[in-house]
Symmetry: C2
Subunit: 332 residues, 2 copies
Amino acid sequence: MPVYQHNLKDKKIDFNTILDKVRVFAPATVANMICGFDILGFAVDEPGDEVKMYRVAEPGVRIRSIVGDGGRLPLGADRNTVSACVKMLLNDLGILQDIGVEIELIKHMPIGSGLGSSSASTVAGLFAINALLNNPLTKDELMPYCVEGERLACGHGHADNVAPALMGGITLVRGGADLDIVKIPVPKELYAGIVFPQVDVPTRDARQLIKEKVLLKDAVTQWGNIAGLVAGLFQEDYDLISRSMQDVIIEPSRAILIPEFYAMKEIALAHGALSFGISGSGPSVVAVSKGPEVAELVTTKIQDHLSANGIESFKYVSAVNVEGPKVLSFND
Amino acid sequence: MPVYQHNLKDKKIDFNTILDKVRVFAPATVANMICGFDILGFAVDEPGDEVKMYRVAEPGVRIRSIVGDGGRLPLGADRNTVSACVKMLLNDLGILQDIGVEIELIKHMPIGSGLGSSSASTVAGLFAINALLNNPLTKDELMPYCVEGERLACGHGHADNVAPALMGGITLVRGGADLDIVKIPVPKELYAGIVFPQVDVPTRDARQLIKEKVLLKDAVTQWGNIAGLVAGLFQEDYDLISRSMQDVIIEPSRAILIPEFYAMKEIALAHGALSFGISGSGPSVVAVSKGPEVAELVTTKIQDHLSANGIESFKYVSAVNVEGPKVLSFND
């Protein structure tokens, strides 16, 4: 049963209430949440992407500039995911011919990091255009456009990054294309210690490593872990979360792409992380921790280890972001 | 991490407080809960097995009688699962040579029904001996003996029936042999409409039908459903429970053993059941329903259909049993 089906033609846009400009932040996301391949994910407070959006006189949607992408993202309005999604939304609202919009995209995280980089940009862009139009759409109504953005960016229209990026918190995506998105409660002390080693792991390659068939007994172990994780999150039972957050299906295939993965895992668990695994398709790794101190300690130790092995890295220590995207300013 | 590890030698049994007799009920159980193969299960108020246990002068454990098994269960104390588990427990307590126990087993459900028949008997027996001894063990401490009983009865030491039978309510069993058992909240209006068609499906045959490998994409669908079901149970969200309680892995293989399965499913869903599927390894089927009226209607319609096709059946309409086993009497 499709949960997201909307007819945007019914929306009346009042051109008198459209804003001049808006500046929006959307969070990075940790897809899979270690044991929930393709269904679970959570948003973090840091990093995240920003979109500045301006209403201009000349109709159409244009990218004004992109900062922080190292020149890798296309500037053409139909090829850039952010502008393409904004165009799609304006078209479905029936106002694409009537409004001029220019976009500045400020990327605060690298592309191909496994942190939902494209999702953060897409969600920021769609949240920005909705804010600029004085919020005619609910988040549920924005969601299909976010998923479409993922399809444009990755060739894979999945919601496991855009769902937490847009909804905030921890999300479950079930039912595949039906987009049945369920919010899962966030235990207060749940922190992510993220380390992004400076190596390149394209999502497509990471997907190709995954086997098409899995042993039923492994699948049973995995769904027991997923059920345990969901129960642990509802009950704020950090021990259960820790016992359950183990991936016996995907990690064994993908870890090979990430240098020092098992050494990092050993360090994380030895220093008190609840769990450690790959963020999305990597190469970023995440130490899910109880409290910021553990996340801080673990990421420091991991960076030391990587550095000793000649691998540069970034780190982020963050609570789970429960808000999703937000307007930073209407004047800047 | 094994959650159940106990040293029963430390328990001191006070022979002065041992009771003369006790009569115990333990509930039938619906293993798998449709989408959670080998990890989820719930207990029902009806049917269930009874054990009457008597302290006698002559040391040793003996089966006095078995009622309702059609003569299929062994009476020898080492071969009968109930007495064998009681002996094992008394041995671990170091008092097997010092106490005499006689058992009457009253079966209220058929063997091989898919309703956890052997589990109900085993749990009743172990709960009874614990009650007779004035409750020296917690349920957690009784659990490994219940699992051992399953191993004796089915050749498969799994907790998916004994966990809900002993703990009551809805249980998650994760971590395989580690016996990590998690109680999941029971929505107040959750009812089971169970129909047991009079056909024979041995558990071993039902297991053999299951494929050793499954498609990853099906496994992802399944674990999305399991996560949705657990979330739905915590949130008392009957729509989410209904959407999630679907089995794409096991049902397609096992349904073939159950005559009229898909016709029954159609009837159940057409008459308002939240979900319909196989109870354990069948042939019993279960219509999970909101409220007793729907469960009553659905099971009546299914029985009518089976009857029209020349298949006799039993039915049970029951709330989820949240208590587990209970003492019925100390005098009877």
